[in-house]
């Protein structure tokens, strides 16, 4: 942590401003609000931050972040263990959990293949995924990667690698979002939706 001011307030503002979604102006407002009632907001926050930094770690099975490893999802006996959903990052896992749409397990890839950024298969959790599939018990892998050029290329790569295992490999559908009007959709999404049309 270099280039941080010595003044404790400015130091706190500078640290908060480094977090996503928080600029210096927002950080200053948050710090001012907390300083009004330090016992009720600052000290619990400091404790929570310390505890999270100490306890949270990646799950050794799926890569999710949790205070325990294996994580709560991997340990949940109600989960369908035949179904593994591959996501780019923990944020995507959390999004799917919020939707309550997937009752299987997850595998966090840790990124997508990006030749120009120098990210290859060895930089992602592809090996652990293949090991997990080879261990048996998984019947379907759902690839839930971003609908970008790199995300789709990664999905094709994973499909090729998983095909010899003889399991079902599926991908999320692309198309019109819920509540989306056609005239405001981008041309790429419209084209994908038309291609993926199904019998009414």
């Amino acid at each position: 942590m270099t280039d941080l001011p010595n003044d404790p307030i400015e130091r706190l503002i500078a640290l908060l401003a480094r977090t996503p979604g928080m600029g210096r102006r927002s950080a200053r407002r948050a710090v001012l609000k907390m300083l009004m009632r330090p016992q009720e907001t600052m000290l619990p926050l400091a404790e929570a931050l310390t505890e999270a930094a100490r306890a949270v770690r990646p799950c050794e099975t799926c890569g999710n972040l949790d205070a325990q490893s294996p994580c709560g999802i991997c340990r949940d006996p109600q989960r369908d263990r035949h179904l593994v959903c591959v996501v780019e990052g923990v944020a995507d896992l959390w999004a799917l959990e919020r939707a309550h749409a997937h009752r299987g397990l997850y595998h966090v890839l840790g990124g997508v293949l990006s030749p120009l950024a120098g990210i290859g298969p060895e930089d992602l959790a592809v090996g652990p995924l293949l090991t997990r599939i080879a261990a048996g018990g998984v019947e379907e892998v759902i690839i839930a990667l971003p609908a970008t050029v790199d995300g789709t290329a990664t999905a094709h790569y994973l499909t090729d690698r998983l095909r010899p295992a003889g399991i079902a490999v599926t991908r999320l559908a692309q198309g019109v979002p819920l509540g989306g009007a056609l005239d405001v959709l981008d041309e790429g999404t419209l084209a994908a939706a038309l291609r993926a049309r199904r019998p009414a």
């Binding site: 120009l116 970008t148 290329a153 094709h156 041309e187 994908a192």
Partner: protein
Amino acid sequence: MEWQAPAVVLDVRPHGESGAVVTLLTEAHGRHAGLAKGGASRAQAPLWQPGNLVEARWVARLADQLGALSGELVHPAAALAMEDPLALSVLRAATSLAEGALPEREAHPRIFHGLVALIATLARGAEAALPDLVRWEADLLADLGYGLDLARCAVTGTQDELAFVSPRTGRAVSERAAGEWRDRLLPLPAFLLGQGPSGPADWLAGLRLTGHFLARDVFGLQHRPLPAAREMLADRLAALVAPPADPG
């Protein structure tokens, strides 16, 4: 400073929380980067996908600044190629080659028009676009000063039965003149001479031919390997030509 022109998106790198540094290929301004504010946002991310044809507008106070980019989608090539692994590989290979090989802000109109034509052909499927990709790579070599000489045999001067290329000089060699060196020469697929139809084996031979010179003369001089996307395309095509043996 300001310009507006049709452009092909070559590369997008996140910048900050929702911005992106986008690299484009234009006819008059060559490979040109700019900052797209909100380029990685939900609204703009579909626009700035590598391979998309856009109408781009670049604005800066000084010519050598990064400048700000905005744009409108003209042809969603990335979305159209996504379902076909081979088509997507072709698109990624072409954009990553242009991004890595072309000097910044130097016009290469032939390469721009070739890439636009390649993207248009890709709409008919990867099989239609692969010969065009190999020809475009040969044009890329020529534009950068490392053109192949496929007009006549380097040994006999004949224009007939040209079947190989010297990996050292990039000049064609006829079937008859190849003699005992044929194993050391690079096969020259007939479609590069404008002769006859072509198939996956010919496209792979073409990619190996242009790939050799791109790796040695273009990327080798930058002390970099061929882009991984280009290698992945060759691997995918090689798997098509020689499918893995059934273990059963």
